[in-house]
Symmetry: C2
Subunit: 203 residues, 2 copies
């Protein structure tokens, strides 16, 4: 399915995972177009023939990597918000967890955003899927009376933008902001402001 | 300077601009690493020798393109906020103008974000420079009493994230949101929410 043959044995799973991890490393450092299947196989210490047992081509592997990244990020943030009693708490907890995830796996930006060069459809699917789930969550919070009525789709993109760009600030752009404490503090400070309303009320 | 020889004549300027425009088109469609100098020259209908009159190499051209994009985006948004009387008005006007700009020049995302594959330093410089200017603007608005006290650097990244991701929504991800009226409406609706405070006040 989708150019992927999932492994049926534990040993196969190990090889499959090794291929994926070496592909992520190479896509991150060299980029998709600059990476060959031979390099992916070599980095995973398997033969090119073994690559083709699991993947039809490089595109299928990349497509799978994107889907897996989406799953992992969602699993990580979903776990982080389990204890949240309100959307207000969940939003902070989710964004803190997201930022810590990309701090620990800085390949997330390079691997996802290069979809723009690999196949724009993959980029579009990745983010529209993410936004649809986010919008659903905000709608549910609205029904519980926890969020003000608004265009929840646009609000989803806005919150995804905040997560991604404060994530960039912390993980790549500004040095010395990488500790758990600093991330928690920055997000709390930002959401305190967003909750009060962005601007001083006009006179 | 920086591997660029600026043209001294009108005719030279025309050639220089043609090379830049063909490079942008090719970086957008094929990506930096997949594009050769020969292709850039050919697309601009000049010889490879002419390319080297103006640019030391492909990297210098890309670096120049990034800087120019930054200038153009800032010039466009600065012009749009000239009439704004408060930061509140300026924020909406600036984000509307930014989103309309990337709707009209959809290469902005692909060309800027591929800096992650070309040279992370260029990516970092592009966004830290943008954030520094944004932070300065918010600080000035704070001094005039128009913005609540907060960490303005993080707020800058948050607002840049909102612009970029609502921009993605409008230009690439969700169909039929591209009209001026729709963009204005989405941004106004979002900022109405952000100004009221993001969540229903807790009981």
């Amino acid at each position: 399915m989708n150019g992927i043959n999932k492994p049926l044995t534990k040993r196969g799973q190990k090889t499959f995972d090794a291929l994926i991890n070496s592909a992520i490393t190479l896509f991150h450092t060299k980029g998709y177009h600059q990476t060959t299947i031979a390099e992916i196989a070599s980095e995973a210490s398997v033969s090119v023939g073994t690559f083709y047992i699991y993947f039809t081509d490089k595109y299928s592997l990349y497509n799978h990597v994107l889907k897996e990244l989406g799953h992992k990020i969602r699993a990580h943030t979903t776990k982080a918000i389990l204890q949240s009693k309100t959307r207000r708490e969940a939003e902070r907890a989710g964004i803190k967890a997201f930022i810590k995830y990309i701090r620990d796996y800085p390949h997330v930006y390079t691997v996802i955003w290069q979809a723009l060069q690999v196949d724009k459809t993959l980029f579009i699917n990745y983010y529209t899927d993410f936004a649809a789930r986010y919008t659903k969550g905000l709608n549910e919070a609205f029904k519980k009376g926890e969020v003000l009525e608004t265009n929840f789709q646009t609000l989803s993109y806005a919150l995804m933008g905040i997560s991604n760009f404060v994530g960039l600030q912390v993980t790549m752009l500004e040095p010395n902001l990488k500790s758990d404490e600093t991330i928690d503090h920055l997000v709390d400070n930002l959401f305190d402001t967003l909750e009060k309303g962005l601007f001083v009320k006009e006179r």
